[in-house]
């Protein structure tokens, strides 16, 4: 019945399985939803989506597949300007353009002028809905795309039918390619746990004690085991200053999450690329630093190495001796990178720059190659991929 919808979902990378689809049909058969489109939407969501991060994708596919369904149940009540506009804008604008509008700021002001203009038009074209047509021209197309869901002419549209639930895109924030927060990061970092029992046997192992006591014909035989610890050790190297200033917030979040999550965590800063010096306090970097050789000697091979940086610099800073922008480096950055990677085979590079822009900066490619492709975007999904790589 809804095979098409189901296939579209799978195409959009919502991991729905056949079993869930059958459950949906079963529920339809038993009459769970009240034959209202909205109820069907809720039911389909509860059955087919099992992770809030996928709800946004689901909403998009739903609106695509069941576009116009609402009309059937409610009759044709003509005027829906802002939705048409948004559809139109969504079709004509590319993602970059949308981002640009968002980045320009001053949304409220734009919206206000637009609203005013709309009001004027309403007065002149009383009753008719012709102005919708003219509204479809470029300025409206541009403003019609509206990421926050602000509605044009709010006071009037209340009486008309509301925006469809699935078109509200309320779960947009939960898409895991977008949001990062301390808590989310912690959960992602938790993938890097490795529990092990070692050290002195201190804990009473009750099941084993009982078993061996029983084996011992009822004479008590105490068994002890060492406590369980998280054995993961992490060495974090942060790029700081320069182009990284744009990413301070996300790096702070990552840092505080990592602090809370790992007992054995060491961190150092570097600028653009690693050379012979690393430091712990950025303000006193020129006086208090640690030679990279010493870092290499101090931390054992079982540390997992994580670089955090945008890898955006001149390629010379990586490959040329003396290429650093700050000082004269005897050996090239790539030699130092190689040394670090040789010492710590488990390594990953987290890049706060979105993955799709990587190709525009040659140095990102160079670093990526040095890392053996182990560069991941600093999003939840990227972080999880990185943790999986480190766990391998």
């Amino acid at each position: 019945m809804f095979i098409n919808f189901f296939l579209e979902l799978r195409k959009a990378k919502v991991p729905a399985s056949l079993r869930e689809y059958l459950t949906l049909l079963e529920a339809m058969q038993k009459g769970v939803p009240n034959y209202r489109v909205e109820d069907f939407y809720y039911l389909a969501r509860a059955t087919l989506v099992k992770d809030e991060r996928n709800i946004d994708k689901f909403d998009r596919v739903f609106s695509q597949c069941f576009n116009g369904l609402e009309f059937m149940s409610e009759g044709i009540e003509a005027t829906i300007p802002e939705e048409w506009l948004r559809k139109l804008a969504e079709k004509t604008l590319t993602d970059e353009e949308k981002a640009m509008i968002e980045a320009l700021g001053g949304w409220d002001k734009l919206m206000e002028t637009l609203k005013k203009r709309l009001e004027e038009q309403k007065e002149r074209h009383q009753g008719g809905n012709k102005w919708i047509g003219t509204a479809g021209t470029s300025p409206f197309g541009a403003y019609g795309y509206n990421p926050e869901g602000v509605r044009i002419g709010q006071d009037k549209s209340r009486n008309r039918r509301a925006v469809k639930v699935w078109d509200k895109r309320e779960y947009k924030n939960l898409d895991d390619t977008v949001e990062l927060g301390t808590r989310n990061i912690k959960v992602a970092l938790r993938r890097l746990r490795k529990f092990a029992r070692d050290g002195a046997a201190m804990e009473l192992d009750i099941p084993d004690t009982i078993r061996s006591t029983a084996n011992n014909a009822g004479w008590l035989d105490l068994k002890l085991v060492p406590e369980r610890h998280n054995k993961i050790k992490v060495l974090l190297l942060f790029d700081i200053g320069g182009s990284m200033d744009d990413h301070i917030r996300v790096c702070e979040e990552l840092f505080s999450a990592a602090r809370a999550e790992f007992k054995h965590m060491e961190f150092y800063y570097f600028h653009n690329c690693v050379y012979e010096k690393l430091w712990k306090d950025n303000r006193r970097r020129h006086n208090e630093f640690q030679p990279t050789w010493e870092v290499l000697r101090t931390y054992q091979q079982d540390y997992k190495l994580i670089f955090v940086g945008d890898a955006t610099m001149s390629p010379y800073e990586i490959v040329q001796p003396g290429g650093s922008v700050e000082h004269w480096n005897e050996e090239s950055g790539s030699a130092w990178m190689q040394r670090l990677l040789d010492t710590y085979p488990k390594a990953a590079w987290l890049n706060p720059v979105p993955e799709k822009y990587w190709d525009y900066t040659p140095s990102v490619g160079v670093v990526k190659q040095l890392m053996g492709n182990r560069m991941f975007p600093l999003t939840l999904e990227g972080l999880e991929r990185a943790m999986r790589e480190l766990n391998r």
């Binding site: 459950t23 509860a46 809030e52 938790r190």
Partner: protein, 281 residues
């Protein structure tokens, strides 16, 4: 059996559909959402609305799936054996029923709440797959099979600390409780404190949503915190004006301890409020 919310719980439309689907198809319902948005309360309210007994199983990091089925108390049998008691001869005397067993054999169809399933070990949900699917399990010690005559309504809550295995998810319905919008929130407050002054609520909501919008908060206050705070405000009998902090010249709202639970958050908020005040001058 249909769930439509109760007089002490405001259920949104999508939540009702999900709950009813779980009741009708006798499958577990997995509920996720920010802490403090009423996940656990949901199970209690469903039980209340359907007049069904509620069985709660709180999961901790040390909880094993087996404990939900039954436990064999070897230690007391050992002791009884050494004392030569008569009951030691029947092993069934030392089988302790778990929460699932209770749920399967309850005379009326119960609501079984498995609370905070993500706290347990990663293998925990996998170990319960078959039991929750077929609603039966086998007791090795006595050789009997416990089978549910009426499948309990299973509500599972998760705080998202661990990913749940796919095989487990496939067998559940899923609902994500979104943070309520202003309208729903007003209804929720109304249900909890019917006698509260309207303007106090309005002012409090302003402060609350403003607080939630503060960028960079470590822990955003949620519904249960708002309710606690309102209760405090009512007990302290603060005048409505006290909430208009800007006129008062104070930086953070009164009794903010109920809303901000983190020292850094309090500092952050103070700093932002200070900046805002300086700018408004």
């Amino acid at each position: 059996m249909k769930f439509t919310g109760t007089d002490s719980y405001v259920a949104t439309n999508d939540l009702m559909v999900a709950v009813n689907a779980a009741i009708t198809l006798e499958r577990p319902l997995l509920v996720k959402g920010e802490p403090g948005t009423g996940k656990t309360v949901l199970a209690i309210e469903i039980a209340k609305a359907l007049k069904a007994p509620l069985i709660t199983w709180h999961i901790k990091s040390t909880t094993k799936a087996q404990q939900g089925l039954y436990e064999y108390d070897a230690v007391s049998r050992l002791r009884d054996g050494q004392l030569g008691e008569e009951r030691v001869k029947d092993i069934a005397n030392y089988i302790k029923k778990g929460k699932l067993w209770d749920g399967f054999t309850a005379p009326n169809r119960p609501v079984l709440l498995i609370d905070e399933i993500d706290k347990a070990d990663i293998e925990f949900p996998n170990d319960l797959l078959l039991e929750l699917d077929r609603m039966e399990f086998f007791v090795y010690e006595t050789g009997e099979t416990i089978k549910a005559e009426q499948r309990p309504i299973v509500i599972i809550t998760s705080n998202n600390e661990k990913e749940l295995p796919d095989a487990f998810l496939r067998r559940c319905f899923f609902h994500y409780i979104r943070f309520p919008d202003r309208e729903t929130m007003e209804k929720i407050v109304e249900v909890h404190y019917p006698s509260i002054q309207k303007n106090l609520v309005r002012e409090a909501m302003n402060v609350f949503y403003e607080l939630r919008d503060t960028p960079g908060l470590k822990k955003k206050p949620s519904t249960s915190e708002l309710l606690d705070w309102l209760k405090l405000l009512m007990v302290e009998d603060l005048p409505v004006e006290a909430l208009r902090t800007k006129e008062q010249g104070k930086l953070i709202p009164p009794l903010a301890g109920a809303l901000l639970k983190n020292e850094q958050d309090v500092h952050l908020f103070e700093r932002l409020a200070f900046i805002a005040r300086r700018e408004s001058r």
